[in-house]
Symmetry: none
Subunit: 254 residues, 2 copies
Amino acid sequence: MKPEILLSRIRIVLCRPSHPGNIGAAARAMKTMGLSRLSLVNPKQFPDAEADARATGAVDLLQQAEIHATLQDALADTIFVIGLSARQRDLGPEIGEPRPMVARLLAAAAEGEVALVFGNETVGLSNDELQQCHAAVSIPTNPDFSSLNLGSAVQVLSYELRMAAFLESPPVSDTVVTPFVSPSATHNEVEGFYAHLEAVMTAAGFYNPAQPGRLMPKLRRLFGRIRLERDEVNILRGILAATQQPTGHGTRNS
Amino acid sequence: MKPEILLSRIRIVLCRPSHPGNIGAAARAMKTMGLSRLSLVNPKQFPDAEADARATGAVDLLQQAEIHATLQDALADTIFVIGLSARQRDLGPEIGEPRPMVARLLAAAAEGEVALVFGNETVGLSNDELQQCHAAVSIPTNPDFSSLNLGSAVQVLSYELRMAAFLESPPVSDTVVTPFVSPSATHNEVEGFYAHLEAVMTAAGFYNPAQPGRLMPKLRRLFGRIRLERDEVNILRGILAATQQPTGHGTRNS
């Protein structure tokens, strides 16, 4: 797919930006790198003369910018979303450096609409916002002064997107180490989950072991794409167990 | 040699900057990436309140900035110099992309003082100035809009310098291509699954929306790692729907 088309499928989403100047700087940064689609979630002040001034020749991106009330609206038709975050959050998505993450975003753009999401200048993305992202990207900075300007963050990642999109042989990722918060489940634990799932589906009439078809392979492929953690297997089996109780009395609420 | 020491040997030189705001933005960009030495050649207006405002926490770099009347003075003790240029000049030094040029600058920094030189916002480096450089670097941009802001150019190259200085071993890549058999689910489709899952868990007594705890974030983190396909969302929702039917009559067996 042509690099220009890949870049045209990437929207830059700014969540709750406080300073209109940064919106303009982001638009200019995007346009210099061949990105064109800007979405704003609940901007404090927009449109604004300061935004236009900082955008210089990229005012067209501001005029075409979409404005949404929530991040969910801004992401409605996307298939893959990466959010900027300075650090790994407790229950947030996997975080990685710009190059592997940009490679993932471009790979997804070959299939559909994708987004790169930036938080508010002061507080960044909220945990709720970051949980709407499939992955997170962190720009390496000086640990003693990590105060990257919002427009500069957009510039750096837009630049990385252009570099990767126009690279003849794209760097296929990932050297990202997933920060597991719980130990990985063992093979046996995962098999126990599949057996439990199969029993529940059978009892519910959704699955007939005598005519298995491709249902279990599809589910194995689904869960097999991630390395389930032990805690996650326990949650999934807890849900399954709760649906098996006719009285509807579950046991867990973590 | 330690990356911090390499970076401490790199000076950023701004030739005849017109806008003090850009000087401040350059200082902030440098400091976020661990660079500390700013030299100004014949700035139009400096010191200046606008420079301080845009520098935010990097005012120390402005206070320590060296001011010179000519580029030659600013480069006096350097052993290697790269200048920013949008194009190959007739008699100018060899021009290259950021990554190979940044690698050369760092290699030279292991031996002594080096400089990265930026021209005036409107006209760039003069031919005379560029001829004082050993090499030139061009930041790839959109051919229809190559108007990179001066602060942004400093940001991009400072970022590349940090990335290269701290890279212990070059990025290892493994070519994992996920064989997608169905289109990716959209953001809205995945949200629909979460809502359905939440309803089933609530009915089963496994989840209490009044005391949500960390259950939904954990489940979002789990499924967020997968990048669900549309077909998979349909399967998962089919299972959920089947468990909701008290008689246990499901609808699907694929």
